[in-house]
């Protein structure tokens, strides 16, 4: 057993009792399947009578479909049928990606396949069903489409100009949504500021690049009128609900199964037209239909993210106290808002989160979200965070440098003090249980900033540009019903867990949270075994099957541990109570005198206990031996959602040291530090993996990843050879450490840990690079920060 690395929260019981698993870095036994190639991914599934599919997709960013002729293609070998929008729409109702609680959002109806106009390169036009994917692809070549190209609307900055092409005529212009947040009197506060700094930052589009592409097998069983969906998604119950609604099937007759999922990162929590078309095809044909995207489809149809231009202004007084902050964010989301989460949330997070670690009494944020003829944009890991954190932390550094303060000192005097929670973000969102001061202090200590500064000076004397960056940030985790539900979206913020003792003494747990590699299985087992008092190997777990798990939201927004984990905890405690009641009746003793440990009910003062196996056997097979009137329920189900606040925030502080080469523009991250406060850590090793993996994705966004488009809306780099994600050599030494402030919203006290790395790394890297360039009085403002942008910044290009 791995050492306990944390002292747990007292609500969980002492750490030296038997079966104390919460807080221990146990090995994930679920991983062994993958190590022998035994993972069950969607493309590994072969059902009897199953057919494959491929899509004809728009080669243009914006084009009218004058006519489509499928008659030749239908004769191709192996082709079973070809469906266009008119066919698919007979079984699938359209959807609209808007929410009602954030002001007016305007997005038109969407159907699985484009009707008369294709609005992004890659939009699905026709689905070809054939025996094999290769046959379907061959037939696509034979579909004749009479295209009339239309001028595309590509640039988000000119999207609202008068003479710009309007993508949806009925909307009058290309505006999807706009929101203004205002607290205090910004104008007045800027007037009172002794120093004002400004910045404008650009964030390119990038995407998730899950190693397993999106995939679905839809199996419509005519005889039972039941739709079974094998889907590599994050939220099976959400999909169940949506499929029932749009295909007019009773929800009880839709089963969504999500087994192994090869990475998700938010990419796989949305409704995609091609997947809905595959479901429709199955319903029409009465056969299982498989669709698995190839890598090109993945790049051009998986949601993209970021794509922001943000300007910000920070006013400080002569002591460096923040008085006023103003930001103006523009984002382009493609031609439609995604369903059901909408494509407004990234911008909304930017408005909510900018400035969030600090006291800034006057705050104004304006967000504008516009349509473009590009791949739809939506929520991807660390939604909005990289933008909010970067604009804040870049401005904070600028202010410090302008008034001659150390970057750490200006942060320290402006943090919301750790002892002053509950509190609010500058935008007015409630905050509680955070620790910016403690995390920053710990960060500065392990970074040894004076040493780094010394080294930087020595490097500079040799002409080497070394820089140091630090940041503080808040991360949105564990959203409450006030996030989506309040806006009318059927996205559950509740999660459920069920736990039962079986006849053999084994314990079965099921949860509505799903596994995509984070370690959900491991932590759910740890919580259940810990709270029930049984050994890990007695626990069997079912996830990702709407027929077999309680209802719930699934895995997104770093909510699995905090919400799903709490549901398991509550269910385990209820079951424990049930067991103890039965045991006290059998053992003829007071319930307070007994407990469960090591798979047995034990007498606290010693003496003979009863094994859970024996207890279960008695209840299930020899109930007559139990005193009459005893409740025999060896099963318990619990639910949990966050009450009273919109999110449980976490916070972290990060630092990094970089070196920039003036000759080639190459950038090297020498070292990276993260201090994370995610409350109770159920499995510290898994937390660290989440942080490290998140940082690497953040490095991707900061330095490498970009969906490059030409001015006609053609994606230029839709291959893994051209769209660069970090590989092993891009991984710096990442030091991870923790501060622990448990969430008061649950017994477990866990917050989320999945997104901080991705949210914070871009900002800290930008600050470090700009620190390196500061001796030349230069800066970079656009991500990804490529070698070319470095040479541009220092005036060589």
């Amino acid at each position: 057993m791995v050492d306990i690395t944390l002292n747990q929260n007292s609500k969980l019981g002492s750490i030296d009792r038997p079966n104390s698993y919460i807080g221990r870095s146990l090995t994930r036994d679920g991983a062994i399947r993958h190590l022998e190639g035994g993972g069950k991914f969607v493309d590994d599934l072969i059902l009897p009578r199953m057919v494959n599919s491929a899509f004809l997709r728009s080669p243009y960013a914006h084009a009218e479909i004058k006519s489509i002729n499928i008659s030749d293609a239908q004769k191709y070998p192996g082709v079973i049928d070809i469906f266009l929008s008119e066919h698919i729409d007979t079984v699938c109702k359209p959807w609209i990606g808007v929410l009602s609680h954030l002001g007016e959002m305007r997005s038109p109806e969407q159907s699985p396949l484009a009707k008369k106009i294709a609005r992004w390169q890659g939009e699905a036009i026709a689905i070809v069903i054939a025996n094999t994917r290769a046959q379907a692809e061959d037939a696509i070549e034979a579909i004749e489409v009479d295209w009339v190209e239309k001028e595309p609307q590509i640039n988000m900055e000119t999207a609202l100009d008068k003479d710009t092409v309007v993508i949806h005529k009925e909307l009058g212009n290309n505006l999807f949504w706009t929101r203004t947040v205002e607290q205090g009197d910004v104008k007045k506060a800027f007037k009172e500021s002794s120093t004002i700094v400004e910045a404008t930052l650009d964030f390119a589009r990038h995407t998730g690049v899950t190693l397993e592409t999106r995939g679905i097998v839809a199996d419509w069983d005519k005889s039972e009128k039941k739709m079974s969906i094998y889907h590599n998604g994050q939220a099976p119950h959400m999909m169940q609900h949506i499929i029932a609604k749009h295909f007019d099937i009773s929800e009880g007759l839709v089963r969504v199964i999500s087994k192994d999922v090869g990475g998700s990162f938010g990419i796989k929590v949305h409704v995609y037209g091609d997947e809905m078309a595959a479901i429709a095809a199955s319903k029409i044909l009465g056969r299982p239909v498989k669709f698995v995207a190839d890598r090109l489809e993945s790049f051009t149809t998986d949601i993209h993210a970021r794509c922001h231009k943000i300007s910000g202004k920070l006013g400080v007084d002569k002591n460096g106290k923040f008085l006023s902050m103003e930001i103006n964010d523009l984002s382009g989301i493609g031609p439609y808002s995604m369903y059901p989460r909408t494509s407004a949330i990234e911008t909304n997070q930017v408005l909510n989160l900018s400035g969030s670690p600090y006291i800034i009494p006057n705050y104004k944020a304006v967000g504008t979200v516009v349509f473009q003829n590009k791949t739809p944009m939506c929520q991807y890991r660390a939604v909005g965070h990289p933008i909010a954190v970067a604009i804040t932390e870049v401005l904070v550094d600028k202010a410090a440098k302008k008034i001659g303060m150390k970057v750490e000192d200006i942060r320290k005097i402006n943090f919301i003090p750790d002892d002053q929670y509950p509190n609010k973000t500058p935008s007015g969102v409630p905050l509680e249980d955070l620790s910016h001061q403690a995390t920053m202090n710990k960060l500065l200590k392990i970074m040894n900033v004076p040493d780094l500064e010394k080294q930087k000076k020595l490097d500079l004397e040799k002409g080497i540009l070394t820089g140091i960056g630090i940041i503080s940030m808040c991360e949105v985790t564990n959203p409450s019903p006030l996030f989506y539900g309040v806006g009318g979206a059927h996205i559950s913020s509740q999660d459920g867990a069920s736990i039962r003792l079986e006849g053999s003494g084994a314990v079965h747990v099921s949860s509505s949270i799903t596994e995509q590699g984070q370690g959900t299985e491991a932590i759910m087992k740890q919580i259940a075994a810990d709270q029930l008092g049984v050994s890990m190997d007695t626990i069997r777990l079912t996830l990702g099957d709407t027929d077999a798990t309680p209802y719930g939201g699934g895995t997104w927004a770093s909510r699995g541990a905090g919400i799903g984990g709490e549901a398991v905890l509550k269910a385990a405690r209820t079951l424990k109570n049930n067991i103890l009641k039965i045991a006290s009746a059998i053992m003829q003793t007071d319930i307070d005198t007994i407990d469960i440990a090591n798979n047995s009910v034990i007498r606290k003062n010693g003496g003979e206990g009863i094994s859970l196996k024996k207890l279960a056997e008695t209840v299930y097979y020899r109930g007559h031996e139990i005193p009459q009137g005893t409740n025999p329920e060896l099963i318990a189900t619990s639910s949990f959602y966050i009450e009273g606040i919109p999110f449980v925030f976490t916070n972290s502080a990060m630092g990094c040291q970089v070196t920039v080469d003036q000759d080639t523009g190459l950038i090297k991250i020498n070292k990276f530090w993260v201090i994370e406060d995610c409350g109770t850590q159920i499995n510290p090793k898994l937390v660290e993996e989440q942080i490290r993996g998140g940082v690497i994705q953040g490095i991707g966004g900061a330095l490498y990843e970009e969906c490059v488009y030409d001015d006609q809306g053609n994606m230029q780099n839709a291959t893994m050879a051209d769209y660069l994600v970090p590989m092993a050599c891009e991984m710096p030494d990442i030091i991870v450490d923790h501060v622990i402030t448990n969430s008061g919203r649950s017994i477990l006290g866990a917050k989320g840990a999945g997104e901080a790395g991705t949210g914070g790394a871009p900002a800290v890297i930008m600050n470090a690079i700009n620190d390196a360039l500061s001796s030349m009085n230069k800066e970079v403002t656009s991500q990804p920060i490529t070698p070319e942008k470095i040479l541009k910044a220092i005036g060589k290009i």
């Binding site: 993958h34 190590l35 022998e36 397993e212 040799k462 995509q516 070196t659 993996e689 070698p787 040479l791």
Partner: protein, 471 residues
């Protein structure tokens, strides 16, 4: 039908397997997943960039297991050979130590990339390489993981390397002569004479490693029904080292080339290790890389700067040209239809010379170069006496910069390099594309010349591209 062809045998995880009902055009990945129903090997990109489909290839003669991307190998190329997939590595009852280590170190999150990483790790254990940070990093440089951030994977391989348990391979005799798959026959001539006879077929294509050709769909059209694999031709596998020359057969793999030159020309190690990935380097050949005539091929500038010679072979027998005269234009060269590259003659760097090769790309590993620059030079008393420069990514062909060499010769190092920097745009005409604008390419070339100056002044013989920070 195919059952009647005893030649279509592949040893899959040590088991003799008859391959039937296979179209000529499918990849080994398709064969493994669809025909053999071994679903552990994954498709991530189908173009050799992610490593999820990695398998091990062996020829039955020794225990060497070469990792390749099964998405880039045609079935016709592995008939008569052995392949090891993840299912052949170990299982929960008898796990290989690397599997145990991956489990204990949390080196697998979503699990999709995991089989590929394990295959890459095993290939290191089965090689004769030392195991250290460098070789581990190199071994996994063709594998992409989006979840873990790599450090647990590296740690797991390190832990498992303490036992360094190689995978056992079976011995078998090769019988991959003529392989018929659908309408297409893969011929495996054993020597050049046999090869020449095969060119009597009306429609044929040569196939070396296939890392470039196999990306095409279909690889041969219906009429071209003969593929002449060059892999078994003995004359193309030679390597001769004389005092001042290295003669390498064109079908030596890039990885094989790396092994041969690493002691003779150590300056090439970094650029060759950054050439694709181990999977690509084990499959791709030097002759293939030169034949594709890509303006950004990593090998060409190196060979050009050393003034290498190309020996060609075809109906008209043997001919030789200097590599600098081989390229005609963008992906065009002087090869005639019946001609192949037989070998490459590389003059070994002379003791009095220094040799620098730099590849500049956005990502360190597995990335296509923005520019690359190779410089072979001799200085005496601070004067550049002789210099040979070649660059990639600066024109439509890999370019030997003869005029630049001329103006740099006979001057002091400082003047010579300043001249090069000031006049570089007269000699190169890079285009703007995804990897960099024309301006960036020119400016970064200048930057590399500055680096050259630094190296010469500090009298260093080599400098890593990432070595701009003093370690």
């Amino acid at each position: 039908m195919d059952l009647l062809q005893p030649s279509n045998i592949i040893y899959v995880n040590g088991k003799k397997t008859i391959i039937s009902n296979v179209d000529h055009d499918i990849t080994v990945l398709d064969l493994i997943r669809t025909n053999l129903k071994l679903s552990g090997t994954k498709e991530g990109c189908a173009e050799g960039d992610c490593g999820a489909c990695s398998i091990l290839l062996h020829d039955g003669l020794n225990s060497e297991l070469k990792p390749v991307n099964s998405c880039l190998v045609r079935v016709g190329q592995v008939v008569g050979k052995g392949i090891v997939t993840i299912e052949g590595v170990g299982n929960d009852i008898a796990p290989h130590p690397i599997q145990t280590a991956f489990s204990e170190e949390n080196a697998s999150q979503c699990g999709y990339c995991t089989p590929g990483f394990i295959i890459s790790g095993i290939s290191l254990f089965n090689s004769n390489k030392k195991i250290n940070d460098d070789t581990i990093n190199d071994a996994i440089s063709g594998n992409l993981c989006r979840c873990t951030g790599y450090s647990p994977i590296i740690k797991a391989i390190k832990v498992a390397s303490k036992l360094r348990k190689p995978l056992k391979t079976i011995k078998f005799l090769e019988h991959n002569k003529d392989i018929k798959l659908g309408n297409v026959t893969y011929y495996n001539p054993k020597n050049l004479e046999e090869m020449l006879k095969l060119t009597a077929h009306e429609n044929y294509n040569f196939l070396a490693g296939g890392t470039d050709l196999n990306l095409r769909r279909p690889i041969v059209n219906e009429k071209k029904n003969v593929i002449i694999c060059l892999d078994s031709i003995v004359e193309l596998k030679i390597n001769k080292i004389t005092n001042d020359n290295l003669i390498i057969g064109s079908c030596v793999s890039i990885e094989g080339f790396l092994e041969i030159v690493k002691n003779k020309i150590p300056q090439l190690v970094e650029i060759l290790q950054r050439f694709g990935s181990p999977q690509i380097r084990n499959q791709g050949t030097i002759g293939g890389n030169i034949s594709t005539s890509s303006p950004i091929g990593d090998l060409a500038p190196v060979l050009l700067a050393l003034n290498s010679k190309i020996n060609l072979f075809g109906h008209n027998g043997d001919t030789s040209v200097l590599l600098r005269d081989f390229y005609l234009g963008y992906r065009k060269n002087i090869l005639k239809k019946d001609q192949i590259i037989r070998s490459i003659e590389i003059p070994l760097p002379n003791g009095g010379y220094k040799f620098f090769c730099w590849k500049l790309s956005k990502r360190y590993d597995q990335d296509i170069s923005t520019i690359s620059l190779s410089i072979y030079l001799k200085t005496k008393n601070n004067i550049i006496e002789d210099i040979h420069i070649a660059a990639g990514g600066v024109a439509e062909i890999p370019k030997y910069l003869e005029s630049l060499c001329k103006i740099m010769t006979g001057k002091t190092i400082e003047v010579s390099i300043l001249t090069a920097i000031n006049q570089i745009d007269k000699f190169v005409q890079p285009i703007s594309d995804l990897r960099g604008t024309s301006n960036y390419r020119i400016e970064s070339l200048k930057g590399l010349f500055k680096r050259l100056e630094k190296c010469l002044k500090e009298n260093s013989n080599t400098m890593s591209i990432m070595d701009f920070k003093d370690e």
